[in-house]
């Protein structure tokens, strides 16, 4: 099974769901589940094959597409992109499971959902800048529709804000890519070719920030993160999971695998600015999450904070840091998906509130023990407790920071402490309220359903698996980082 099946299954699934007769909600979600399972299995199979035969010739698909501009339909995967494919597949499966109860216009819901998944797969697989940009933009309209139609709090505003930030970010990316294309002679959009060209330093110093900022906006880089919390809160559960879990990773992936290899000297020039913004994002996101009343807003701002670690890891320009950044992408993808799933689906659909104080009245640790248990584990993973994926990632980033800019480690430590504080506060208030149990009987809530339990189990087990035995993931990521793309970046002092 080639990695192409991830793409094919997602887009074919989306088309199939749309072609179903009206009023076939059950069929729609089954097709969506099958399509996302196929994608996840294909990604997992490709990862396993890569681990077994690390030197096997990589799969690639290359056809001319727009010959006038030297644009190829070029798909290929290295270990790094395979690991992100697997992340996408896992979050997709969990997302479908958490959307099992969608009854309002289920066919377009799952069609948009699968389109986003397909676009994300496409970005991770593209080796042509034009193709990558196509997949990057395919995601935008379904995002808007998912939030505006199926969302909750302030959905039309949140959807429009998120969409305008996304399209603005892609305008910057378009400029950056086209500048690189033109400066490289205007013959090819092939990413490996574009990265092999030595651009004039003066060009790099103004083109790099444009391109990086474009990707950085989608990665939730402070101060361009404001779309993320409002958008994630307004989105339906599955969309929040996708947005925080994988779509924000598109920005991080693009920054790492497009912006940095294309303009390495520009990167060196701007490296400390990025690191500074990342650290501010880590602390700012954590502090803001500390003051939120809405459980989803807490998770939304925690995403901003966690995405800061990814950017910081990249900005170190060290092997440890970048590897940690990618590990954090995977870790945060899983943990954010889990947190949003529990807060948006498991809790909200039963209590119809996300207000931390109001949730306290439900005594969730007694009335919904499964959810409280899962949320505790997810919180631990999110805080970076040893044994979970977050720990491995943050430790690795920390080592990278220590190697490149030791003085930054202080603020990062502050960020980690505040992360612990807001995570514990939210968990405590929402799930383990201190109240007189006899004073008021808590309402009885329906128990967890099987789709919910399986989605939670899937995501938690992956997070623990990475935390306990990160070696396969590290091997995959290092395969990507050892490619010629990163030579000029990671060999820097």
């Amino acid at each position: 099974m080639t990695p192409a099946w991830t793409l094919i299954s997602a887009f074919a699934g989306a088309l199939l769901v749309l072609l179903l007769p009206a009023r076939s909600a059950g069929m729609a979600r089954i097709i969506a589940l099958l399509a996302s399972l196929t994608g996840a299995v294909a990604a997992a199979a490709a990862c396993l094959a890569k681990l077994q035969h690390p030197d096997a010739l990589a799969w690639s698909f290359d056809r001319p597409w727009i010959p006038e501009l030297g644009i190829q339909f070029h798909l290929a995967a290295n270990g790094l992109s395979l690991s992100l494919l697997l992340l996408t597949g896992l979050v997709a499966v969990a997302g479908v499971l958490f959307s099992w109860n969608v009854t309002h216009r289920p066919r377009p819901f799952f069609a948009f959902f699968l389109t986003i998944i397909g676009g994300v797969y496409g970005v991770f697989l593209s080796r042509d800048a034009f193709l990558l940009f196509v997949f990057y933009e395919i995601v935008i309209l379904p995002k808007y529709m998912l939030i505006a139609i199926w969302g909750s709090t302030n959905r039309e505003y949140g959807a429009m804000k998120l969409t305008m930030y996304s399209i603005g970010s892609s305008a910057l990316i378009l400029i950056g890519l086209v500048v690189a294309y033109a400066a490289a002679g205007g013959t090819s959009f092939d990413l490996d070719y574009l990265a092999s060209v030595k651009y004039a330093p003066s060009l790099q110093s103004w083109a790099f920030p444009i391109l990086f900022l474009g990707f950085g906006v989608l990665a939730g880089m402070w101060p361009f993160h404001t779309w993320a919390p409002t958008g994630h809160v307004a989105a339906p559960t599955a969309a929040s999971m996708l947005l925080a879990g994988v779509v924000m990773k598109l920005g991080a992936y693009g920054a790492l695998c497009v912006a940095m290899p294309l303009f390495p000297q520009g990167f060196v020039e701007w490296r400390l600015v990025i690191a500074g913004l990342a650290v501010v994002g880590i602390i700012y996101g954590a502090l803001t999450a500390l003051t939120q009343k809405d459980l989803k807003f807490v998770i939304g701002y925690s995403s901003v904070s966690h995405m800061g670690f990814i950017l910081l890891g990249m900005a170190t320009a060290t092997h440890w840091g970048v590897r940690g950044g990618v590990l954090q992408m995977i870790s945060h993808g899983i943990v954010a998906g889990l947190l949003f799933g529990i807060a948006g689906r498991v809790v909200y659909e039963r209590t119809h509130t996300r207000d931390l104080t109001a949730l306290g009245a439900f005594d969730l640790w007694r009335t919904l023990p499964g959810a409280a248990f899962a949320f505790t584990l997810a919180t631990a993973a999110s805080m970076g407790m040893p044994g979970f994926s977050g720990f491995v990632a943050e430790l690795s980033v920390g080592i990278g920071v220590w190697q490149s800019d030791p003085w930054l480690i202080g603020p990062v430590a502050v960020g980690i402490i505040v992360t612990g504080a807001f995570s514990l506060r939210a968990m405590h208030r929402a799930f383990f309220p201190v109240r007189d149990a006899a004073a008021q009987a808590a309402p009885i809530l329906p128990p967890l359903t099987w789709p919910e339990i399986s989605a939670i189990a899937l995501l938690i087990s992956v997070s623990v698996a990475i935390g306990v035995y990160p070696l396969p993931w590290v091997t995959l990521i290092d395969d990507g980082l050892n490619s010629p793309l990163f030579h000029s970046i990671l060999s820097l002092p």
Partner: protein, 495 residues
């Protein structure tokens, strides 16, 4: 002179004119007999047959024959664009005007055919004076078509269109006289030769500026766009479709022909830091003004037709960005874009006409709940508007990307910013444009509306929605299908 070759060369135009005359004859005959105007369906059928026939006649045109003094040329560019104009014209004919608007379908459709004849002649000439006459034939027909429904709004639209058109024609003609005075030639090859032979005569360049102003009016480039919103809103849908798609495509071809093949020596440069006066810089400024004006004003519109008019202004801006780079590949991309833009804007107009038929107006609110009334129409609307906004995988996206890429590749040499200022502005403006297209899509997909009895669309109206939607998706997935032939034709013609 070889008259049979001349006849073959003019065969498509002849077929159109004959069909128009037949249509008029049938209309007069039936009206005299039954005292009722000819049926709309019959008029549509006859004119469609005529257009298809003209398309078939294109095959008989001899290739690369130039009649005396370049009056008529059938170079590859002319042949391709005659086919494009006929295709867009056929779509416009398929979109039936509202019955209460058009009481005399015979005359109306005959005028459509005359306008198409004028557009075909405009595409196939290298002679500036002949170009002017052909353009006026098209314009006069279009003025009449704009005001044909005789409602006060249509009358206002037609009058505005006519007054602005008249002034721009005067500019065009005055520019021509200056060019002739200093180049002593009116055919493009001769002008190109005269310009490269000696130093640039400044008055000829001023003349070119005036000609560009005349064409900017045709293309609805700001600040020569003031007729567009009123015409889009007041004129019958069929006329607007013709003005927005076919007439615009022809304007772009004429501009490409004029600038690349006649006035290449007067290009100057719009590249950052290397600016030199010349049409390149003027087009750059026109492009910037159009993009900013069109996009910003579109944000405030509540009538979808007016919104499409301002989007037309903005899209002209993107087109001029590509042309201002003075590159052949970029010009080929611009020609590709003007076709897919025509398809998308035509589709959006056809859909607005369908909504008007159901809800009585074209306000944003009239689109509310479209997805519940007609899911297929809603999907078509999404295709048209997202193609206009430049969202993949639709043709509008491919067109914009290729235009901007080619413009940058032409203008940038070794680390100079080139046209980055213009392309950057275009990318950002294009991002902003998604906002107003989403305002329409939000109504159609997100908002709910009170139930209204659905109106059955006629078969031809459905075709007018289906064909552009399918083409936009196909050309979005495989842009080379159209881009390669257009670029090849342009390069072959420039040789």
């Amino acid at each position: 002179m070889n008259y049979s070759a001349l006849f073959l060369q003019l065969l498509p135009e002849a077929v159109l004119v004959i069909t128009a005359l037949v249509l008029l004859g049938v209309a007069v005959a039936t009206e005299a007999k039954t005292r009722r105007p000819i049926a709309m369906e019959l008029a549509i059928a006859i004119s469609s047959v005529g257009i298809v026939g003209a398309c078939a006649a294109l095959n008989f045109c001899p290739t690369h024959v130039q009649s005396a003094s370049s009056l008529l040329v059938t170079d590859p560019l002319a042949r391709v664009f005659k086919a494009v104009v006929l295709g867009l014209g056929l779509l416009a004919v398929l979109l039936p005007p509202a019955r209460r608007e058009i009481t005399q379908p015979g005359e109306f459709h005959a005028l459509v055919l005359f306008a198409l004849t004028g557009l075909l002649l405009t595409v196939g000439t290298d002679h500036l004076l002949f170009l002017f006459v052909a353009l006026e034939l098209a314009s006069l027909s279009l003025y009449l078509l704009a005001g044909f429904s005789r409602s006060p709004k249509a009358a206002e639209a037609a009058l505005k269109y006519f007054l602005f058109g008249g002034v721009s024609a005067a500019f065009f003609l005055f520019g021509l006289s200056l060019i002739y005075g200093f180049c002593h030639a009116l055919t493009l090859p001769a002008i190109a030769a005269a310009l490269t032979a000696g130093p640039l005569p400044p008055y000829a360049v001023v003349g070119l500026l005036m000609v560009i102003v005349g064409l900017a009016f045709k293309l609805a480039a700001a600040p020569f766009h003031y007729w567009a919103p009123d015409v889009y809103q007041g004129a019958p849908a069929t006329s607007v479709a013709l003005i927005a798609a076919a007439s615009k495509a022809v304007g772009a071809v004429v501009l490409v022909r004029l600038l690349l093949m006649g006035f290449g020596a007067a290009a100057g440069s719009a590249s950052w830091g290397l600016m030199q006066p010349g049409w390149s810089l003027w087009l750059g400024v026109l492009a910037a003004v159009s993009m900013v004006f069109g996009n910003v004003l579109a944000l405030a519109q509540t009538s979808v037709r007016r919104l499409l008019a301002y989007s037309a202004v903005a899209n002209t801006g993107y087109l001029l960005v590509a042309l201002s780079s003075n590159g052949a590949v970029a010009a080929g991309a611009a020609l590709f874009y003007v076709v897919v833009y025509g398809l998308a804007t035509f589709g959006a107009l056809a859909l607005t006409a369908a909504v008007e038929r159901e809800r009585g107006d074209d306000s944003l609110g009239a689109f509310a709940g479209l997805v519940h009334r007609s899911p297929l129409q809603a999907v078509a609307l999404m295709i048209f508007l997202t193609s206009l906004a430049g969202v993949p995988p639709l043709a509008g996206f491919a067109g914009k990307f290729v235009m901007f890429g080619a413009a940058m590749a032409k203008s940038t040499t070794h680390g100079t910013p080139g046209l980055t200022w213009l392309v950057g502005l275009a990318a950002i403006m294009s991002a902003i444009s998604l906002y107003y297209y989403l305002m329409v899509l939000k109504q159609a997909f997100v908002r709910e509306a009170a139930e209204v009895a659905p109106v059955e669309l006629s078969t031809s109206h459905r075709l007018a929605l289906l064909i552009p939607a399918v083409l936009l998706v196909a050309l979005g997935l495989f842009p080379a299908l159209l881009l390669s032939p257009l670029t090849r034709a342009l390069l072959a013609t420039m040789e």
